[in-house]
Symmetry: C3
Subunit: 457 residues, 3 copies
Amino acid sequence: MNKMSANPFLALTALEQELLCIFGTGDLGRSLGQRLLQTGYRVVYGSRRPHSCGLLPQGAQPASLVFICIHREHYDFLETLAPHFKGKVLVDVSNNLKKNLYPEANAEYLQRLIPGAHVVKGFNTLSAWALQNGPSDANRQVYLCGNSAEAKEAVAEVATKLGFTVLDKGSLSSARELEDFPLQLFPEWRLPLRLAFGLTVFFFFYLLIRTVVSAYVEQGKDISFRIMASLANKVFPIVSLIMLSLCYLPGVIAAFLQLYRGTKYKRFPDWLDRWMLCRKQLGLLALGFASLHVLYTLIIPIRYYVRYRLAAATISEIRLNHTIPFDTTMAWRTDSYYAMGILGFGLYLLLGITSLPSVSNALSWREFSFIQSKLGYLTLFICTFHTYLYGWDKFLWVSGYTWYTPPGYMLSLVLPSAVMLLKLLLVLPCVDRSLTRIRQGWERSDPEDDSKNSLLT
Amino acid sequence: MNKMSANPFLALTALEQELLCIFGTGDLGRSLGQRLLQTGYRVVYGSRRPHSCGLLPQGAQPASLVFICIHREHYDFLETLAPHFKGKVLVDVSNNLKKNLYPEANAEYLQRLIPGAHVVKGFNTLSAWALQNGPSDANRQVYLCGNSAEAKEAVAEVATKLGFTVLDKGSLSSARELEDFPLQLFPEWRLPLRLAFGLTVFFFFYLLIRTVVSAYVEQGKDISFRIMASLANKVFPIVSLIMLSLCYLPGVIAAFLQLYRGTKYKRFPDWLDRWMLCRKQLGLLALGFASLHVLYTLIIPIRYYVRYRLAAATISEIRLNHTIPFDTTMAWRTDSYYAMGILGFGLYLLLGITSLPSVSNALSWREFSFIQSKLGYLTLFICTFHTYLYGWDKFLWVSGYTWYTPPGYMLSLVLPSAVMLLKLLLVLPCVDRSLTRIRQGWERSDPEDDSKNSLLT
Amino acid sequence: MNKMSANPFLALTALEQELLCIFGTGDLGRSLGQRLLQTGYRVVYGSRRPHSCGLLPQGAQPASLVFICIHREHYDFLETLAPHFKGKVLVDVSNNLKKNLYPEANAEYLQRLIPGAHVVKGFNTLSAWALQNGPSDANRQVYLCGNSAEAKEAVAEVATKLGFTVLDKGSLSSARELEDFPLQLFPEWRLPLRLAFGLTVFFFFYLLIRTVVSAYVEQGKDISFRIMASLANKVFPIVSLIMLSLCYLPGVIAAFLQLYRGTKYKRFPDWLDRWMLCRKQLGLLALGFASLHVLYTLIIPIRYYVRYRLAAATISEIRLNHTIPFDTTMAWRTDSYYAMGILGFGLYLLLGITSLPSVSNALSWREFSFIQSKLGYLTLFICTFHTYLYGWDKFLWVSGYTWYTPPGYMLSLVLPSAVMLLKLLLVLPCVDRSLTRIRQGWERSDPEDDSKNSLLT
């Protein structure tokens, strides 16, 4: 499996190398050990049962760096070894099965058990796979935290030799954050996903009642088959447009708040902060719904129902022997409607692609904000225009307001229209000038401390 | 071309800098030299013809680090310089034109020629472009191997100053691996590509015989034009579904193997290991075939043949003067079929996007496995359901079994149905519990060595 | 907001840490300070008004590293502090609002003001966000330049501790380049975008005159509604095909130039160099246009105009009571045409995906060139073939040449056909052999200096 560790050359060079100790022979301990051997370290395994695989007690010369790759439940036995660990660097690699299982982080608990050692939390965010095979694209970063700068430096050196890049997360109080990281499941996606789910359910039932239920109640017709395609293709674009506008609404609110407060140095309310932090996720979900809308639209002509209706229209035209004239306005309107949809979706996709980590990485700050802001508002505008073209003059038709409720697409237009109106106010030259000054650090009516607007960056 | 190397400031600071020597004035040698100069090193070029460009023989103070940027065929002349190279670090940057051209790696050959030097293999995986312009996204990593840890450290320092990240690959015996890397052409894609090709060819001829050949033989009708679109749109989804299920089959087999063996510490058979390692490629190819299926489906209504047939149906309906009633079951079934297809493809795309290196990089381990496992099985389920809806009750029709062969879609359902059945067995509470224990390190009936289940990670 | 800087443990360990000074309390200064504190440095803020927040003048022990986070306009006040800065490392973090605002780079100006200090330019390409929160995927690299190697080393150490990777860009004369970086807005996209815009406008008006204007002038018919969809769906594929061939033309020209010159060591003319450098962008724009073409093609059957025309054809077929026979050649031709389009688009997409930074990163040099060259030419061939199939025998029809102008698709075929013919010449065995020798470093008729072909890499 690992031909390198058996290499005679390696054994020779390893003799001159530093000795490391690993406690624990689980997956992580074994993988880490193999990798360390491969890089030229000498490795001994520690164990609570010296007779089984414990090289530590026999070894006269103990390692200064000890990796603790065992479960927290077995830490108590390490306490008995506390004298041996005095002044040593203990790297806590452990993870828990759930969040908040224990009152303190594993690494803090370990530090409390062995106060004489320098505990460093780290490597726990890597998979055993990455530890054994070296950093891949997905596992390049090692996070460290600990109270001793020297101890962290020593661990950082090992990590760097293994090919990882190291990021110091500060003191041991960050250990919980590091231990929670491998357990997290899309925390920043939760709010957007819930919102998308809520909107989808609401509009599904709203449209179900307006179309299927009302047709059944008023005309006794069963058009329930429309749920799978027609209804879905109404719900998805509506949710997509609303979520896209929810992407840009917090930015507009924040701008007005800054204008009102006259400074950018006051923190935004918590809800606004949280909202701003999930804009990317809101946008990507909106793109997902838009993609479903595109696919649902493109299968329209192969649907049985559509083919049946088209054939029926042709047949009735022939049987009644009257010729329907070509309506140029209709042709203009529907073609413009489709063209706007295609352009909007194209821009949507562009926004999605540039939010891929490796693409946004290659962009300068100015380029990124150009795409996400200028192109983003253009996308919102085109998609809203697409929906207005779909509606055309239908809002005047009384027959559209089944049971006194407006059609779904009208509801979906409220938010984007509002966002664009507010944005229009913000780009008025006088407003824009004030906002730019505030964002460059200027503060209104704060004369005794004007260092901020003179030494700004 | 390179204004920096002519910069007077640089020349001044370079005086205090380390001297490096480069042998070879090919692309790689020149690019490396430029880049080293730019970073502030002093560089001399060595040559076998001192009068042409050889600065080395005249220079009184030789460099301790020598980059060998010449072809292996010219190494013999370096042997004559062996006394000069004693104790020096030689960085072998060479590559070969083919794999297995020589019995030993270039770097090992060099080490044998000049035993007194410390040979380090490295930099050979970079393009001359990356060497000249510094690391870009595609060329950030430098791999090193060599028998002397000090020599590697010295080379690693230079690489780090040039802006690269260094990954130590162990002793010089890894040199062949490093020399083979730039020559590799999608090694991990070969098996999946061959499989995809084989399946495509098989199903193409299977369906060709069932449709085109049988129609010609039995009814004398030439429907060969269906090859380009109708037939392709049958082959692609079939291959896609089979390859998707082949993605998940090895995981299921591995789980049953672990259950049977009662441990996770025994290695899987080689064929299973190799299969598991190409799951990502299998899945991406399956996604490619699914995308072709989507495009082929969406062009259905603009095909001449389809338009002709639809018009002919309408015309015959009028001429025969009978009205075909609307079939609500048919509408439900076909719309559900399309909806499942769209959702399945959407999830498929999501799986593909998260397998992009930069996206999977941003995910925690738990998030990645959630998407690739939970969402993966959901995708498989929806796509299989989509195919069942397509089939509906056709398997009961005798007329479908042309020449006693089942339709292609039925064959494609065998594997995914089996995979899902087996997976269903695995998630039964009692089986799941055993499997989880095994995967946490527990081993069945191994009482004399129970350290593994107590000190697991 | 930042709980770590208030942590008692941190404060204790920070005491043993290096002291750094930051001038400027703008966004960048504050963010940098927070991050440095978090990593364990001691930080003091300098100010030109000692009474406001200036810790520097009171502090007896000055920092050896000073970050200058103020605007260039306020640099003159730093001159007064020149004696204090003697021998210190000044890190110039500043950016300008526009390019070429000043005759010299900010960092060079600072060095001129304070000749006794060692000025290092750096950190300016990061956003305040990245400085505060540590490196993310999009902000991992710190660029440094400066005249003193020791000063750069000291700054590089701080950057590494903050978790960034450092890239040395040479002497202080590179400062302007670094200061221009955050201001750039897609410089490498400009030429391709202008080209795409020019081609789009030209073909739009060309086709507008040929179809809409000519129909109005000659038959008095208003078919202007065709602008939104039919016309767009002619312009987009034409521009896409031309831009794809423009991707491959410079490579072919370069090869012929190398053959003609008999060496690869002469620089290409500037226009060719610039053209070669924007091939990726040309290709991605071509892919964008191709995607629009695909979407416009797929909405054909749901367009009002198309439905109307199809129904009218059916109705007229019935009213005239004649049956149009099925045309097998037509079925073959159109299906092949669609199949080629789908395959070509699939390959197009594959090229696009592999040009994503994180994907091309994972490829070896040979794999990348296989995809971009071999698969690229295959894509060009299939897309050209797709267009030829679209044309079929129409070029023989006199009626197609409205107002003596050829149809747009014919114009679009000129360039790709030429590129493929030239490429065909280049892969002839005799030509290919010469070219390969030249690319391996061989030079024609240069006998007095043949070291290049013997020591090539």
